[in-house]
């Protein structure tokens, strides 16, 4: 599997899109730090990027890479390599490449900023870690969707719908549900509902760390009230790690039954 991961990373390094992605983050990173002035404000801007863009880019790359290397996957499947390793190797290769672009792209501007002004770096490190995790989760989900269908358009469609659901629609529905049933005690429901969306989990983890109550939203407040900041953060990030196992299970299961 390591050889496949290595191959994918090498392949993506030659790919102009990875470079474009890195440059994009560098540009955004410097722009936010230079123009927003206040560091806590920039952190919130970074948070938006990480919560919305990282999963989207992971989704797009996951689908694109799978369908572009469909031929090569067939060649790999005819080799003495376990099926699971072929697909998981691809997933991890893409995730590591994207994650590295993210960490470098936002990390370099931050280091530059850090050298000038003394600010707390731990929030930023947490942000990058969460970005890495979200990217990995969404790349994996997108690949699981792609492996399940040979139809490229359908694969793209399903994967994008999944992203849209998690990034936008989910919160809307949660909010609607909370308004509709506001006369009932909803804390536990909200708490459980959050667990089913990795983007929400990431948001809560970082907001608990930043301790910005105004941005925390209902579920964030519930998390803090019920679990306290530290326990809440540990819990949210552990569930996020569990989320990273989901694509692994899905890809393995789907790939096992497919014909190529």
């Amino acid at each position: 599997m390591l050889k496949i991961i290595g191959y994918v990373i090498k392949d993506l390094l030659r790919n102009r899109w990875t470079l474009f992605y890195l440059l994009f983050y560098l540009l955004v990173g410097f722009a936010i730090l230079i123009f927003s002035g206040d560091f806590s404000k920039s952190t919130v801007s970074f948070l938006q990027i990480i919560l919305i863009l990282t999963p989207l880019i992971g989704t797009l790359f996951g689908v694109m890479y799978y369908y572009n290397s469909r031929d090569f996957i067939e060649l790999l499947l005819a080799q003495p390599i376990r099926r699971r390793d072929v697909f998981i190797g691809q997933w991890l290769g893409v995730s590591v490449s994207l994650g590295t672009s993210l960490v470098l792209g936002l990390g370099i501007p931050f280091l530059w900023y850090f050298a000038q002004y003394e600010v707390a770096g731990d929030q930023f490190v947490l942000l990058l870690l969460l970005g890495f995790a979200l990217g990995t989760i969404f790349t994996g989900l997108a690949m699981a969707v792609s492996v399940s269908t040979d139809n490229k358009i359908r694969g793209f469609g399903y994967a994008l719908v999944l992203w849209l659901l998690m990034a936008v629609v989910y919160d809307g529905f949660l909010l609607l549900a909370l308004i509709a049933f506001r006369d009932y005690p909803l804390e536990k429901f909200a708490l459980i509902a959050t667990v089913f969306n990795p983007i929400d989990l990431a948001r809560i983890t970082i907001l608990l760390k930043l301790d910005i109550s105004a941005l925390m939203g209902y579920t964030g407040a519930v998390f803090r009230e019920f679990l306290g900041s530290t326990t809440g953060m540990i819990l949210a990030s552990s569930v996020l790690i569990l989320w990273m196992l989901l694509p692994f299970a899905l890809i393995t299961l789907i790939a096992k039954k497919r014909d190529f």
Partner: protein, 240 residues
Amino acid sequence: MVRFIEVCKRFGKLQVLDNVSIDVEKGIRTAILGPNGSGKTTLIKTLLGMVIPDSGDVLFKGESVIGKHKYRREIVYMPQIALFPQNLTVKELLDLIPKLRRQSARYDGLIERFGVNEFMHKKMNALSGGMRQKVNLVLAFMFDVPLIILDEPTNGLDPVAVLELKKLLREEEEKGRTIIFTSHIMDFVQQMADRIVFLLEGVVKFKGTVEEILQETDSSSLEEAVASLILKNQKVKDYA
């Protein structure tokens, strides 16, 4: 060496393989023939574990291959369409596959035989169909394995390369290798196959030697024999 036992496979409404049972003996060259869509490639893919049969079993050296992967160390497969990552050079590809297989490979003699040495440093996407097929052949023959599977090996090859391929196949047989191949070029099959399996709509219609098929169909050439088998079944019109 290889046994297909009552293999069935259905894709949606289409029964691609219908109770296929074939024995492939060690050390001989077996050709799988049939019109387009008769199930040749699917059959090969069940042996490679790429297509999972709905029922039946495929044995390699007496053991079922279903759900396993290590047995593929002893098999090399050359697909019908050259399936390569486009942005690798020929040399990078020839070095990558042995690493992935964790097997040593020798390609120096082969690249000269097929003239691949002239474009070793070109990227795959810059190669013509024939050039890719030559790379495909080098990949298939560079490992020292007991079973080689070739899906339409003559596709896009120039006559010189076809001659070279025939020579190579004979040499491989002398080394005791088993070869399974498909081809639409009946001359090639007639010269190269020790045994023939003829598939039509997923059903085995004939198994035997070239002489046997000629006798059975009362034909003077393999082309005629295959045509008469198809006409006899009168189902498939499009034979390419």
